[in-house]
């Protein structure tokens, strides 16, 4: 028996403690899900492959099973980047005899172009195909297909530099010969009527570049933008539609006279990354020029990312996001992210770097050094775009005219960059909460004063359950009333409604004065504390008068139509689902909470204080205002805080009664999007443990923290108040 008792005791202790702790563990879980956002990128060496001399190009397949390097011999050397062994050589038969002088690859590394010492250029398709074995192992095999050999210039000059991009419908190659001329070679794949693919080739010289001044070349992935970096630090930008069209030259390296040493185009094709001889790294894209009165667009140094200790030798952009890898003169390799201008990690230099490759899935880096080694690093960097600045600060996104705070988590294309700024949502949350409290606090507080100090106990028994039912109404119902019933009706009666709100207190005050004039025969029937029965019809009367007078007012003040006037005279847009609607609905949800706690606090003020005050000759109002209210002050404060906590986290009402657009505008006639509604809208679509998912957990954590702090503070204040008057 005793044993059973002990066991049961332990069971309850253990179980109870576990439940309490598990409940608190929610916070921990939410934090843990959000935490990886802020973990630094991780890099680790995997293997080093030796014997790769004079490397001009490196590439690797999607799974990082098989890599290749191109040296000066006309062959592709395949090697195993994990085992660190060379696998085989794929000889380039049609280029036999010549030596390779330049090479470039597409971002997925599966198409490349090579140039030789005798001016020949050839495109090569490398098909990587993973093979799954019986025992679950995976190996990757490469299959090569050589394209047509083309010649540029007179055939005597060697190819000095290449840039390349390939699309489904063809490719664009940018080639510089040893005399400094630059050629654009295009291949267009056309499908004939019978469904046959025909490849058409064209080559033309890029005019306007003085011989031997170009120091770097780049082509965007779409092949529509061409960039030529020059000796004096300038970058020429061209657009390529049918013909190359010169756009402008901008000073890519801002220090004059310093050459451009590396160029790359980030994903999306609009931002060019410029590396300079002085180690400067900057991202440029076309944007509205603030200096130009017409707002013309020109290239702007949007992202000044870093200044490396020595010249930028190589750049490799990611094919996944706006990250890229750089190598400097000392051989140090760094990982950067364009949009938030962060350098995520750095590897100390160990011998000069000849070539860089960023794995197609952005999960690894290959570095070829002067000493003939290819080093393979694994990379874990799932959320490069997140930084405190990205979450809260202003960021200049591609396609925007200025740095801004934007929330836009999903877009139409793969190249879309998620914009995860929480400030518009925080703003929306605070805006909604403030309007709700603006509406709720006066009503709840005044009502609580009346209910606790003056209300007749019999009416109290009727009104209390009414307020309790008000608290029990599901928020989805309030949202429905607000969004489907109130919003479309309010649209036409805005002035009348505002007028009604003004008339309500006027009518109440007026009624009290009229009451004095009434003969005592009538007024005696309503003893103190029963005024509220008379006031309900008066409230209806006030609302009705406001609505009746509203159209007159609208005609007199707002030229007949308020919304038109608002838009015309003040340029304020009127949204159907706006803050008046939200304020009302959320206020409705908050009033019972504030009311109940306020009333408890006011009722808890010891009767002795009240009696004392009345005995001293104070009127009941003076007692309420000057004795009871200050005494219950902290309780009232805590009530408002708990109301705040409830309004901050309210989801359904906001979801239904606002337009859910993440804009930052204090206007009461606009909507907003709050943190909580944002979670509800976006989390079903967010990939598990992706960046959006974790950002939403982070915003959930912010909500949790806010409400928890506010509620705990309120609770502590309340308890202190209880202790203070507990001994009366």
């Amino acid at each position: 028996m005793i044993l059973l008792d002990r066991a049961a005791g332990l069971g309850i202790m253990g179980g109870g403690a576990f439940i309490v702790l598990a409940v608190i563990g929610i916070l921990l879980f939410v934090v843990l899900e959000a935490y990886p956002l802020f973990r630094p990128a991780k890099i680790w060496p995997i293997a080093t492959t030796a014997g790769l001399a004079d490397v001009r190009l490196l590439g690797v397949d999607e799974y990082r099973d098989l890599a290749y390097a191109l040296g000066s011999a006309p062959s592709i050397r395949l090697f195993d980047p994990v085992g660190g062994k060379t696998v085989s050589d794929l000889p380039l038969d049609s280029l036999a005899g010549a030596s390779l002088t330049a090479a470039a690859a597409s971002p997925r590394h599966d198409r490349l172009v090579v140039g030789t010492s005798d001016g020949r250029i050839q495109e090569i398709d490398l098909g990587f195909s993973p093979v799954y074995h019986e025992d679950g192992r995976r190996t990757t095999e490469a299959e090569m297909e050589q394209g047509r050999v083309r010649r540029i210039g007179e055939g005597t000059l060697s190819v000095r530099r290449l840039a390349f991009s390939s699309q489904d419908a063809g490719s664009v190659t940018l080639a510089e010969t040893s005399d400094g001329r630059i050629y654009v070679l295009r291949e267009v794949v056309r499908t004939t009527l019978v469904g046959e693919a025909v490849r058409e080739h064209a080559a033309l010289e890029l005019g306007g570049v003085k011989p031997s001044r170009a120091t770097a070349l780049a082509v965007s992935e779409s092949g529509r933008a061409i960039f030529v970096g020059m000796e004096d630090g300038g970058v020429q930008a061209w657009s390529l539609e049918e013909e190359p069209r010169f756009l402008e030259t901008f000073q890519g390296v801002e220090k004059p006279g310093v050459p451009v040493t590396a160029l790359a185009v980030a994903i999306g094709g609009n931002t060019v990354i410029v590396g300079g001889g002085d180690g400067s790294l900057a991202g440029w894209f076309r944007s509205r020029d603030p200096a130009s009165p017409q707002g013309a667009k020109r290239f702007m140094p949007v992202h000044r990312i870093a200044t490396l200790p020595s010249q930028v030798v190589a750049l490799a952009p990611s094919g996944r996001d706006r990250g890229f890898v750089s190598a400097d003169g000392s051989g140090a390799v760094r990982l950067h992210f364009l949009t938030n201008e962060r350098t995520l990690l750095a590897l100390a230099g160990d011998g000069a770097v000849r070539a860089l490759a960023f794995a197609p899935k952005a999960d690894g880096i290959l570095v070829a050094t002067e000493s003939g080694e290819a080093r393979h690093y694994g990379l874990h960097n799932p959320h490069p775009e997140i930084s405190l600045r990205a979450l809260f600060g202003k960021i200049w996104y591609e396609g925007y005219d200025r740095p801004d705070r934007v929330w836009q988590s999903t877009g139409g294309s793969d190249e879309f960059e998620g914009k995860f700024n929480l400030v518009p949502l925080l703003f929306g949350t605070i805006k909604g909460t403030l309007y709700a409290l603006l509406f709720a606090v006066p009503i709840a507080l005044l009502a609580a004063i009346y209910a606790s100090q003056f209300l007749h106990h019999r009416i109290r028994n009727v009104l209390k359950p009414a307020i309790e039912i008000m608290a029990a109404l599901p928020s989805v119902v309030l949202g429905l009333i607000a969004g489907l019933f109130l919003a479309p009706r309010l649209e036409t009666i805005v002035p009348g409604t505002i007028f009604s709100l003004v008339l309500l207190p006027v009518f109440f005050l007026g009624a009290s004065i009229l009451w004095k004039v009434f003969p005592a025969r009538w007024t005696d029937r309503f003893p103190t504390g029963t005024e509220v029965i008379l006031l309900i019809p008066i409230a209806f009367l006030a609302i009705w008068s406001g609505q009746a007078l509203g159209p007159l007012l609208e005609r007199a003040l707002f030229a007949g139509d308020f919304r038109h006037w608002l838009n015309g005279a003040h340029g304020v847009r009127y949204d159907q689902r706006n803050c008046i609607v939200v304020g009302f609905a959320m206020g409705f949800a908050v009033i019972p909470i504030i009311f109940t706690i306020c009333e408890d606090a006011l009722s808890a003020v010891p009767q002795g204080l009240v009696s004392g005050s009345i005995a001293c000759g104070a009127s009941r109002w003076q007692t309420a205002l000057q004795i009871v209210l200050p005494a219950a002050g902290s309780g009232i404060f805590s009530a408002i805080m708990i109301g705040f906590g409830r309004a901050v986290g309210e989801t359904m009402i906001v979801l239904m009664a606002t337009g859910n657009t993440p804009i930052m505008d204090w206007s009461i006639f606009n909507g907003m999007r709050t943190l909580s509604a944002n979670i509800a809208v976006e989390v079903p679509e967010a990939p598990y443990r992706g960046t959006l998912y974790r950002v939403l957990f982070f915003s959930g954590f912010l909500l949790f923290l806010t409400t928890f702090i506010v509620n705990t503070a309120a609770e502590v204040i309340r308890l202190r108040l209880k202790r203070k008057y507990g001994n009366y």
Binding site: V23, L446, I469, A472, S512, F588, T651, M656, L696
Partner: protein, 562 residues
Amino acid sequence: MRRLATRPREIEATRRPLVGSVWVQLVRRGDPFVWLTGGALACAAVMVLGVLAIIASSGIGAMWPRPLTRIVTKDGSAYLGQIIAREEIPSYAEGAGGHRILMRIGNRDLYGVDFKWFDEADLDSRSRPVDAIVMERLEWGHFYGTVEAVRFPGGEATGDAAWPRLRREIRESRRRSTEIRRMESREVGRTNAEIEKTRLAIRRIELSGEAATPQGKASIEGLRERSAEAVRRFEALRPRLEGLRAADAEYRVIVRSARGETREYPISHIVRAFRPNEAGFLGLVGVYLSRVGEFLSADPRESNTEGGIFPAIFGTVLMTLLMTIAVVPLGVLAALYLREYAKQGTVISILRIAVNNLAGVPSIVFGLFGLGFFAYAVGGSIDHVLFPERLPSPTFGGGGLLWASLTLALLTVPVVIVATEEALAAVPRGIREGSIACGASKFQTITRIVVPSAAPGIMTGAILAMARGAGEVAPLMITGVVKLAPKLPLDGQFPFLHLERKFMHLGFHIYDVGFQSPNVEAAKPMVYAATLLLIAIVVLLNLAAILIRNRLREKYRTGAFG
């Protein structure tokens, strides 16, 4: 008291005799301000009354059949429909100063839209033809028009005979189609379940790596045979079903729209037909009751804008029950620990504050937790261990009934803890001491004496938790509620209660139909009716809790030992 003594200004102010002008008296006595505070309370009361009145009137009236009005516009086109709203034309629009009416003109297959605005100034005539019928159909919404003829095997009814015949045939047809549907759903459901089961069993054998062994081959062969057998059984039934359907299709009705087009529809597509202008009050009540019946018991159709909401009611009730089953033991255990076993001190006060404040943590955060922890983390692991053959489509690894219920249980556990703690505290000390004095152990005292005495309080907590849970939507919409669930979570297929299934919920239904529906105007009656139902459930639960609480107070007020 100290406060009074140190603030002589106040006393000064109050001691002065109430003289001076009426205004000064008024302000000093403060009656207007008292009235103002009373006004605030009146406003709150008006708001509650207003919201309840709006929902009650819109909800109760939603199903009431409105009369059909035939209008002819000045350019000669005629429409038949129900007038939904009338409003003044805004001043900036054409025809300002006049009124316009919104009509539900139905016949979506003919007109493309259900609703149309008409300026009253453009109308030539209005009438209420007695022979106008409303035909509620399985697809394309309502049809408004007149009956021309009814065709049935071996005959045709035209003229005055058409309408009574149509009514009879609809009744017959409803009976037939119920039978067909029952047969279909039973047989098709059984066949599909069988095929799916064998497919999964085969997949399981393949995954276990035994597919190549002779034993594995044999069992796969057997399973394939079973699947084929199920299909054959179903095929054998098909001619009968098709025969029934073909016979059903021979009953047709020919109707004419207000514009004069005639259309022929199979009677099996008609849910209900009536003549609102002729029916009289009792007839309309009949239609109303029949609609309410359908609303409560039928599945939704026309992307949730018509039909019933039975699956949503069912889902709400089942989810709330599961939640209660989870939350009551949890809450009671935690409260027993906090109140009876834990040593009262700072740690416990902090824990208590933390638990209390969990009630104030936004429900969407609980939803996030439910999705991330229950569905993705726990559910994902369950899938990997128990249902590898179904991957990559999740079984427990996505939102579902179980996870939604558990999430809501976490959300409502503070309610139960607080209520139970209060109830435990209210159990008089004398009873406990009596029990201990009789030689009972602490555990015996708690299980036999304390918990039974606190039972009404615990029940209050449970009911309050149910009320909160039934009305909560935000966490559910990310942990398993869907707009249309193909199957109920409780059915005749083993294991009968499908905890992993997604389900429908009243609250989410309101949000989805009212705000995400392609045809919000047509869905409004459904939305308001569903709202009324939800409020009725929540308010009833709350009233029950209040009643129990009050009775409990009475009991202890009189029964306390001193």
